[in-house]
């Protein structure tokens, strides 16, 4: 709880330090001096900082997150609009990362010090070293431009959105189109999400691979596996039943960290692929010195991270009998 307050405070004050005048932006370029002044009073920017903060927090708790200076809509609504897009991308990226990273990590650990293991490690490090924004651009050049098989940016083709609009159930294009049998939209949405998801997944894949590998190595070394073998349990059972369950818990921790990182990456990826999510939203907000949005997003980001960690903690407690809440 305190953490949230702290974060909001930091972001709040930080944003205001920025050398830009939101009042001017609010009113527009052609405004006259007194209009700007009037706007400033309206927006409450003339009051001392701590008063502004107090007003903000008061409204926040009441459910009013302020109105975006740029879009003129309540921040909450904007967030609600853009959140699903970001979530969909983030989750897609994570799924890719886990499907590649974890199995490879397990294999690398069981073949420690062989060629396979070394290759995996190099692969993991490579994935961790790739600049997210660069790989995004590269993918665009390769698949969109040169090969022309995938779209450059965006979430859905305009033409498809017009002719086969997706019914909004969850806000996730992929799920919604599937649920309503809207195949055309589904394939289109899929085509659009592949490249950004891959770009986003790169770092997380490296992370998952590396951490799964070291976790498995530790687990495989544990004495209770020696005991299991001493009692004649077959190797398969030893590895997959006995070892794996112990590895699950640290792996969940990996997921948590991986997810936080992908929030960062999501930001860059959205900007490059023009993905209509929170990343792009907050990017434009930063450029426009849109205070309420910046602070609002900061809080949301922190909330998401905290929530994810909480879920992971719960999962841990459920699997590992030694962990007590």
């Amino acid at each position: 709880m305190i953490i949230l307050v702290g974060i909001s405070a930091i972001t709040f004050f930080l944003a205001r330090v920025a050398p830009s005048d939101p009042a001017a932006l609010w009113v527009g370029i052609h405004a006259r001096a007194e209009q700007i002044e009037k706007a400033r009073i309206e927006l409450g920017l003339d009051k001392p900082l701590y008063v502004q903060y107090y007003i903000y927090m008061r409204d926040l708790i009441g459910g009013d997150w302020g109105t975006s200076y740029r879009t003129r809509r309540p921040v909450i609504d904007d967030i609600r609009n853009y959140l699903p897009a970001s979530m969909e991308l983030a989750i897609a990226g994570q799924i890719i990362a886990i499907t590649i990273g974890i199995p490879l990590g397990v294999i690398a650990a069981s073949r420690k010090d062989t060629m396979t293991d070394h290759a995996s490690r190099v692969l993991a490090i490579a994935a961790l070293s790739v600049p997210v924004f660069w790989i995004g651009i590269l993918l665009q050049i390769l698949f969109a431009r040169t090969l022309g098989i995938l779209p450059i940016e965006g979430r859905l083709d305009l033409s498809v959105a017009m002719t086969h609009p997706i019914q909004k159930i969850t806000g996730f294009f992929l799920i919604d189109s599937l649920l309503t049998g809207n195949w055309i939209a589904f394939t289109d949405a899929l085509k659009h999400i592949i490249l950004p998801a891959i770009a986003l997944a790169s770092y997380s894949t490296g992370l998952s691979l590396r951490m799964t590998r070291s976790t498995m190595i530790e687990v495989l070394r544990e004495k209770y596996l020696k005991t299991a073998r001493a009692f004649g349990l077959p190797e398969n059972q030893v590895r997959f039943k006995y070892a794996l369950k112990n590895a699950v818990v640290p792996t969940l921790m990996v997921l948590g960290i991986s997810f936080s990182w992908s929030l960062t990456g999501a930001f860059l990826v959205e900007v490059i692929f023009n993905w209509p999510g929170l990343g792009t939203y907050v990017w434009r907000a930063i450029l426009a010195v849109d205070y309420p949005v910046i602070v609002g997003i900061a809080i949301i980001a922190a909330l998401i991270v905290l929530l994810t960690n909480l879920i992971l903690d719960l999962a841990q407690a459920w699997i590992d009998p030694r962990v007590r809440l």
Binding site: R229, A230, F231, P234, E235, Q237, K245, R322
Partner: protein, 325 residues
């Protein structure tokens, strides 16, 4: 051996090397011993003398960087060194079982003890889960675990050290093996529990005609529980014989030292005697008898030549230049 039935286990001239970063560690130089059916054999020596390695070699569980260079291991006259890994796996926990020193790390923390012993029973006795559960409960009863059915559902960390060790023993004996190897089974529990465990073990042994290879650094334990004793030093069996004979008349200087080091009520108020010095470098073994630097009876020949084991009749054997007959 003088008209008796063939020994259950016969180890002959076993030599084991380990490949390490610092060089090749010659852990076992030449180990020879025999254990008869239903006999309690104590293998005693200080840390690093190779007793655990001997046990692990019998079970074929030595770590990857170790190699059995030469020697024979015969179980019921069958050559075990030529068996495949799969054949050995079936024997482990079935015909021969091993329990280890620290039960807390030997049991898998994320499964109940019941699940673990049931797994072992199912593998070796080829029965279904229900039948296995019944047998598991019986095994727990055998080791005098209070409330066996309830114990099945507990996790290792919910049991005390003594109870955990009982679980291990139950697992080891569940499929009625011919021999049990116990590697320092009581070193991690306190003295009272230690006495209880050993007593229980001996009771079981008598009831089932179970041979036990008891590995320990405590001469005191061996003196109280074993029929036969083998004293190991730096990878060799330096003295071997029936417990009473060796106790009464120890021939090897090391054996003498070990016996003298046992504190008795008589030693109260006096300085405890010790065997001075430390074990030799196992990578660059010195010439001659490995014990000679610490031996108060060392002669010229001890420095130059390694003493061969000499059979003295009625089951006694010594490897020392002092004894030549």
């Amino acid at each position: 051996m003088s008209g008796m039935s063939p020994p259950l286990l016969s180890v002959q001239d076993l030599r084991v090397d380990f490949d390490t970063y610092d060089g090749v560690v010659k852990a076992l130089e030449s180990v020879t011993l025999e254990i008869l059916d239903g006999e309690v054999f104590g293998l005693v020596g200080e840390t690093g003398c190779g007793k655990s390695v001997t046990a692990l070699s019998i079970m074929r569980l030595i770590p990857e960087n170790g190699k059995i260079v030469e020697g024979k291991i015969l179980f019921r006259a069958e050559d075990w060194l030529s068996k495949t890994e799969e054949e050995m796996r079936k024997l482990r926990g079935g015909k021969i079982s091993m329990i280890f020193q620290d039960p807390t790390v030997s049991l898998n923390p994320v499964f109940t003890v019941g699940q673990q012993i049931i797994d072992v029973i199912m593998i070796h006795q080829h029965v279904g889960k229900e039948e296995a559960t019944t047998r598991a409960s019986e095994a727990f009863k055998l080791v005098a675990l209070a409330d066996p059915d309830k114990a099945l559902k507990l996790y290792p960390h919910e049991l005390s050290g003594g109870m955990q060790q009982r679980v291990m023993i139950a697992m080891a004996l569940s499929s009625n093996p011919d021999m049990l190897i116990a590697d320092e089974p009581t070193s991690s529990v306190d003295v009272t529990i230690q006495a209880q465990l050993l007593r229980r073990l001996l009771e079981i042994k008598s009831a089932r005609k179970l041979a036990i290879l008891l590995i320990t650094h405590s001469m005191g334990i061996v003196a109280e529980t074993c029929d036969k004793v083998g004293v190991m030093y730096a990878g060799n069996v330096v003295e071997l014989g029936p417990m009473r004979d060796v106790l009464k008349d120890p021939l090897h200087p090391y054996t003498k030292g070990l016996l003298e080091a046992i504190p008795t009520p008589r030693s109260r108020g006096k300085r405890l005697s010790i065997v001075k010095g430390t074990i030799p470098d196992l990578i660059n073994r010195p010439l001659g008898c490995a014990f000679h630097p610490r031996c108060s009876y060392a002669m010229e020949i001890c420095r130059a030549e390694r003493p061969a084991a000499v059979n003295l009749g009625s089951g006694r054997r010594v490897a020392c230049h002092l004894v030549k007959r």
